[in-house]
Symmetry: C2
Subunit: 396 residues, 2 copies
């Protein structure tokens, strides 16, 4: 008699985005004539950069030759790629041995759950990327605090509410609010973690979008963070690798469990047991994208998406809406009305054909908000702007 | 104060193959002049087939164009690939909706652990692929039975020992013994699972090596298996995708937990939450490899490895060794001497420079055995044969 993992009962029926797509499909079936425009899931739209593409092609071609063929890569990732990631994103901050290359940040967040067992007390921002909560729930974590991050507190959690927290999940630039944690704020958080011997899981998947040079792009800019923080990051939004699948997680060697055991050691055992490395083709693409030429192409692509964000923000503001984010992040967090988010989602879909993401999908503090993503080709975005201009629900 | 996942304490220090490599590196440092020859980890050596390579190249190139770019794929895998897998491997046996494409069989075995919680009573073959036990241990499963599979019982477990088992892991063709479960045996196992309402996790990652047409290549050849069995499989050994990463798992819609809840539903929730799909490039390569031309190339590559296996077996038999497997599987299971396997491993390394895998790494019944893998180029294999011929330890 095989029993269900009982923790699945504590999950909502479906993960947010499949639920969005389910409702969209239902609407489209009844209105096949409407051309829908998605500003929902954070899915990249621009073709891969030339450098990344060449890196992928070269590796695929090599695998077809006797001299170039290789089988299993290292579970932790190719050394050259880890070295390059260090050089580009963490110079003098971390060591290549502390990087674990993976098939993406979302997958890594799932993997991290099994490092900590079921008794850790967690805290997440509210609103939050739902994967932190859902993956924690599946492994049996029940103690989850939701820290309001709203316009009133500048989207920054109240540290005094963190008394009994072991693991704090932070996302900056934030999904969904588009806010970015400042350096002084991050210093306070690291100090808090040091004093409480807590860990911070820092999701930096959108750090490539940071334009303001005073804002921290990695938590390891803060001295001492390597004793308290794990950072998760990704090539998905940096170079459009959402479908190619490539990310990384940093486990500093100084990070220790309360009994002094190095977290790095358990994670090494974990990835060699549960994982077989990211695709060597994806890794070659990522490496090529971090060449000097590749970095310039990446910069241009990120600037393009930020221009999209700026265009959307301006149009929404013309509708007298309050809009957060979008200057150092690809997401806009839009206060729409004091109506349930799923109603906002549905009304927007029906009036404009635009798919946004209901704020409530990210937590109770998301009620009344919609998240707009700025990923999309320019014609796609311009068409969405036109719809916003001409068909935005005026009764909100 | 962050605690370690306590279940890590129940794991051995390191996963088998990193431990093999650690000892090999140590030996090589002291003997840099020796050319080592690995017949250890089951890692493919032959270049990708032309069809697979073209599939990868076409997809990578498309991603670099505006018309061909796509971002996230479906978490469950591209529909065309699931349809093709069904057509080639499971005609009239399962439905494409029951296939979950992934980044490999090892990763899928890890994922499956979280479906069942911690209370399931497991059974594995002894010897066994260590990942079943290690991944179960990490999630907190403590009830694990080890079913002896030895020459005395034809490497087939004693069903009467399965009284209180919920989940039975079976690997056929077997890693490490190279044995294959026959159709009548598999029928008995399915009947057992039906009567006990237990599940079978059937690892068919090596089924492509089966030459004997009477041997089952999938558990779904047995009527009723779709009510009791999950099958895990992989492109790794079929087309040399060990580094490219592509596999699949089948969760039949008829499979139900004891409370009637469909396993398929929980696994769908799981993959959408913990996973983001296999690389779309790898998926395109896999799809191309299942074309008519690709299948013929695959057949030739598998035949090549089986020829390697046959050559190694003949040479070992000339040393008066008892050799199992290798006719419908890429592994040879070799009874060497009544010495500890790690000593056999070390002596063989020192006398011949050949790296084998110590049988004890697969379980207590592996003591006194070495596993030889038949992956390797022909010159590599011929060189190994020469070493076996001239330098095999005669005092065993």
């Amino acid at each position: 008699m095989v029993k269900r993992n009982p923790h699945f009962l504590n999950l909502s029926e479906s993960y947010l985005f499949p639920e969005v797509m389910r409702r969209v499909r239902h609407y489209q079936q009844n209105h096949p004539e409407v051309e829908l425009l998605s500003l929902s899931i954070g899915d990249t739209s621009e073709p891969l950069t030339r450098s990344a593409t060449l890196g992928l092609l070269n590796q695929a071609e090599k695998l077809g030759t006797r001299e170039g063929y290789k089988g299993y890569g290292l579970e932790q990732g190719e050394f050259l790629l880890r070295e390059k990631i260090t050089e580009v994103f963490y110079p003098n901050l971390i060591d290549p041995d502390e990087i674990f290359v993976s098939d993406g940040a979302k997958c890594d967040i799932g993997r991290l759950q099994l490092l900590f067992g079921q008794t850790a007390a967690l805290a997440v921002q509210n609103p939050t990327y739902p994967v932190y909560v859902d993956t924690s729930t599946v492994v049996g974590n029940r103690s989850i605090s939701y820290l309001p991050c709203t316009p009133e507190n500048g989207f920054f959690p109240d540290l005094s509410k963190l008394a009994d927290v072991d693991l704090l999940y932070l996302c900056s630039p934030n999904n969904p609010t588009g806010s970015v944690i400042t350096k002084p704020q991050l210093q306070d958080l690291v100090s808090w973690a040091q004093s409480k011997k807590a860990f911070i899981i820092f999701d930096a998947a959108y750090s490539g979008f940071i334009q303001d040079p005073t804002l921290p792009r990695t938590i390891y800019e803060i001295p001492g963070a390597d004793e308290v923080a794990i950072e998760v990051s990704s090539f998905s939004k940096l170079i459009g690798f959402t479908g190619v699948r490539l990310g990384w997680t940093i486990i500093p060697k100084k990070l220790r469990f309360e009994n002094g055991h190095p977290v790095h050691k358990d994670y090494t055992r974990f990835v060699t047991t549960f994982f077989n490395g990211a695709s060597v083709i994806a890794q070659a693409g990522g490496l090529a994208a971090l060449s000097l030429e590749g970095l310039e192409e990446m910069r241009q692509m990120l600037a393009f998406y930020l221009e999209n964000a700026s265009l959307i923000r301006q149009e929404l503001q013309r509708q007298n809406l309050t809009v957060y984010g979008g200057d150092n992040a690809p997401y806009l967090w839009v206060k729409c009305a004091s109506k349930p988010s799923w109603d906002l989602f549905q009304t927007l879909l029906e009036k404009t054909g635009i798919i946004a993401t209901p704020g409530i999908g990210f937590g109770s503090q998301g009620e009344g908000y919609l998240r707009f993503s700025s990923f999309g080709s320019r014609p796609h975005i311009l068409k969405a702007l036109e719809r916003i201009r001409t068909a935005w629900p005026q009764d909100w």
